[in-house]
């Protein structure tokens, strides 16, 4: 049988791919067919070996016999193809999905449908698996959406018809504030992102915890730095004084420190926490001090005992969103505001709006303050005599309210203005914040419009990356658009990548060292890769290299994989020997059937004849570039 013959030949061909073993294209297929046939006849009893009977069988059942044989062959071929595909499917998927997105596009609808189907069928299973994962995610996305709401006040319109909205409208009317201001005050969001429990004397971190989706920081370093900063502040400003540093602020973030003589809690908070948060911190710390009193006294560097502080730390990782405090109200209460509004409109309201000239001037002055970007008047108290009291939120970059009044021709002494620091999302303030926070080099233009901070021009990649991070952490900036920002060196890099990817280095039969004509080409490519790696690193990026090794169609499959892999490995070794530190993925692709399709000329003819083709025995490169992410900042870059 041809199949048996082929199997033997294969076994006697230890030289590998490049040794022609003289078997045609279908040799493999027949081998597989042979196996299937044997299997097929296994359970069927032998027919009596009678010449006449055989003759009769031939005469009677010839058509059926042929049909049967055909069926068996088809089955065998199918099995053979399954075998073939299963050998390479994983590598093929990897290789293809690195090249383009077609595979993904092809599979997507199938996966989609399958997933939907099995979710429908086994809903409970999915719920059980997903529930623990979904809770935090949902919480996170709620946090996100409320955060963006803070930035976009236009959303407040949506509140207009809810009960809360009505109440806020009433509040706005009552206090003379704009509706938007009320919405903002009520929507203030904060979130505790990290909490550290730090030993007082040594500044060593005893335990720490991060909130959902917060990237990790080097806790030891942070806690030591915090301790150093406190020592420093105490030394510089509060010599001998009891006063301790309790809050540090930077942009949208603040660090809340709750101290005792033995240990302290430090929380990194985004936004402005509620007053009650400070109280909660203090209470938590007190409880911890009681529970861990001995461990704290005996502390000599071993943090084991403090892993039990987990539940305390967890309780500090709070987040607060607008609407958290909504209580269920009885039905009658819902009609109260309407009633009150009617009453006020009819009676007291009239009195409130009868004004004298003085009051009008005063109100105009307050209005001037309201219109000032970065200032939010939150409370106005008229005095019978003496200055009106004004409480306002003020961004650090906003003008002083007194100056604003003076410039508009009002007498600032008629007001007693108290300000509370806050972060304004007003476009002009965000613009100011961006231009003070970001050092824009020549050749770059920065603009801010509708929450998007855009950059155009040319700059170094290092600057681009650094600025991207910085820009994203600026309060009020929702999107950073850097599509029109280029590093001119990028062109050179793209050119090098193109060159490298077009290089083909060929190999002699059954060797993993290139043919002499290509040795120099390979050396040059390796040089170029080294230069590219350096350039890429200089630009604050990382590269990964994939080397695909190929073999020609002759020889056993196993050997073909081995030799093609060895070829890829040789080149990787050359790169590492030159001190390269980039990640290199190596794929042995085995015999390359695809490249022969449609090829004309002798190569294709050779291949058809099962011959060895030098053009098939080669390696190829693919280069992938990515931005380098400094450790611990992944979350910031998302």
């Amino acid at each position: 049988m041809a199949g048996d013959l082929n199997a033997e030949t294969a076994a006697y061909a230890p030289q590998g791919d490049d040794v022609s073993c003289g078997v045609g294209d279908h040799g493999g297929a027949m081998e597989a067919t042979g196996d299937v046939r044997a299997e097929f006849w296994q359970d069927i009893p032998d027919a009596p070996d009678d010449a006449e009977l055989n003759e009769l069988r031939k005469l009677l059942l010839r058509r059926e016999q042929i049909a049967l044989e055909k069926l068996v062959r088809q089955e065998g071929e199918k099995n053979y193809h399954i075998q073939q595909v299963s050998d390479v499917i994983a590598e093929a998927i990897i290789a293809r999905s690195g090249r383009d997105s077609q595979l993904r596009m092809a599979i997507e609808p199938i996966v989609d449908a399958t997933l939907k189907n099995s979710i429908r069928k086994r809903q409970q299973d999915f719920v059980n698996v997903l529930f623990p994962l979904m809770g935090p995610t949902i919480r996170k996305s709620i946090a996100e959406s409320f955060r963006s709401m803070l930035g976009a006040f236009s959303k407040s319109v949506e509140m207009a018809f809810s009960w809360k909205g009505l109440r806020w409208r009433f509040d706005a009317w009552r206090t003379g504030q704009s509706f938007n201001e009320i919405v903002m005050l009520h929507s203030l969001v904060y979130r505790v992102e990290r909490v550290f429990f730090i030993h007082g004397d040594t500044g060593l971190v005893l335990a720490h915890m991060e909130g959902e989706g917060v990237g990790s920081l080097d806790a030891e370093m942070v806690s030591a730095m915090l301790t150093a900063i406190q020592d420093f502040v105490r030394d510089c400003f509060a010599k001998g004084d009891e006063g301790a540093l309790d809050t540090l602020r930077m942009g949208e973030f603040s660090i809340f420190i709750e101290k005792s003589n033995k240990a302290y809690l430090a929380c990194i908070v985004r936004g402005t926490p509620h007053d009650s948060f400070r109280t909660h911190l203090r209470e938590t710390l007190e409880l911890m001090l009681v529970e861990f009193a001995e461990d704290l006294d005996d502390f000599s560097g071993d943090t084991e005992a403090f892993s039990a502080t987990e539940r305390y730390l967890e309780s500090c990782l709070v987040a607060h969103y607008a609407g958290d405090n909504e209580k269920k109200l009885p039905l009658w209460a819902k009609f109260m505001p309407v009633l009150v509004v009617l009453l006020l409109c009819g009676g007291t309201g009239y009195y409130w709006y009868t004004t004298d000239r003085f009051n009008t001037t005063m109100r105009e002055a307050v209005q001037t303050l309201r219109l000032e970007p970065g200032l939010v008047v939150s409370h106005v108290e008229r005095q019978k005599s003496g200055p009106w009291k004004v409480l306002a939120l003020k961004d650090a970059l906003a003008r002083l309210p007194e100056d604003v009044l003076r410039r508009a021709g009002f007498d600032p002494s008629l007001f007693e203005i108290q300000t509370i620091p806050y972060l304004s999302y007003d476009a002009s303030i965000v613009t100011k914040r961006a231009s003070t926070g970001i050092d824009v080099p020549d050749g770059v233009e920065m603009t801010f419009d509708k929450g998007t901070l855009s950059f155009r021009g040319t700059a170094t990649m290092a600057w681009i990356l650094e600025t991207r991070e910085k820009a994203r952490s600026l309060a009020g900036v929702e999107h950073v658009d850097m599509r029109d920002l280029r590093d001119p060196r990028m062109g050179e890099i793209a050119e090098m990548v193109r060159k490298i990817e077009s290089v083909r280095v060929e190999f002699p039969v059954n060797k993993d060292v290139p043919v002499p004509e290509d040795t120099e080409k390979l050396q040059k490519t390796v040089d170029m890769l080294a230069v590219l790696e350096k350039r890429v690193k200089e630009m604050g990026m990382v590269m990964t290299l994939t080397i695909y090794g190929h073999a020609d169609a002759t020889g056993t499959e196993k050997r073909n994989y081995e030799i093609s892999q060895a070829r890829a490995r040789t080149v990787a070794a050359m790169l590492y020997a030159r001190g390269s530190s980039m990640p290199i993925a190596m794929y042995g692709m085995g015999a390359d059937h695809a490249s022969g399709d449609g090829g004309a000329g002798s190569a294709s003819a050779d291949r058809k004849a099962g011959g060895s083709v030098q053009a098939d025995r080669r390696i190829e490169f693919r280069v992938y570039l990515a931005r380098a992410v400094p450790a611990g900042t992944e979350a910031l870059l998302q």
Binding site: L204, M221, D231, F232, S300, G301, T303, E304
Partner: protein
């Protein structure tokens, strides 16, 4: 996990920062150090197969050791006193700092003297006789070089081991 705070003491320019740099590649930039007067680095080491995180506080003085902010010494579990072998006055400064550290911590902490710049030993002012007197006071020391790395790892590891023993005792 076990962490230990270590302080580096010594006169100006004896090589404290260089020694730390040699031992660990620090990630916080020098910006912090000029404003705060301290530079903090971290290194994980294994002492007899126990993992220990060393948090190194490199204290910065501008002219003399006198303006080193000794508040940073608080809570140290061990320290290294660095001497510039080429300037004998830094040995006196080292002795003073060592006594100060003992007084401030109120107990005797593990410590070592590092007589640094050993790569330039032919230009040393610190003589063998002076080092013998350290021996007599049973002050242990290493002749280090931040430049060549000589005895740098050994010194930090020896201190780490002493600290670990001290905390077990």
């Amino acid at each position: 996990m076990i962490s230990k705070k270590i302080c580096l003491l010594g006169a100006f320019s004896v090589g404290k920062t260089s020694l730390v740099e040699q031992f660990v590649h620090s990630i916080f930039s020098d910006k912090y150090l000029t404003t705060l007067g301290v530079k903090i680095s971290k290194k994980d080491v294994a002492v007899d197969s126990v993992a220990v995180t060393l948090v190194l506080w490199d204290m910065e003085g501008k002219d003399t050791y006198a303006d080193v902010n000794l508040a940073y010494l608080r809570g140290a579990m061990g320290y290294l006193v660095v001497v510039d072998g080429m300037r004998k006055e830094t040995l006196q400064a080292a002795m003073d700092l060592h006594h100060l550290a003992e007084k401030l911590s109120g107990k005797s902490l593990p410590f070592y003297f590092l007589i640094n710049k050993a790569d330039l030993v032919d230009q040393w002012e610190v003589t063998d006789a002076m080092l013998d007197s350290l021996d007599k006071k049973s002050i242990k020391f290493f002749r280090t070089s931040a430049k060549t790395g000589q005895y740098v790892n050994e010194a930090f590891n020896a201190l780490a081991r002493d600290m670990l023993l001290a905390s077990r005792a």
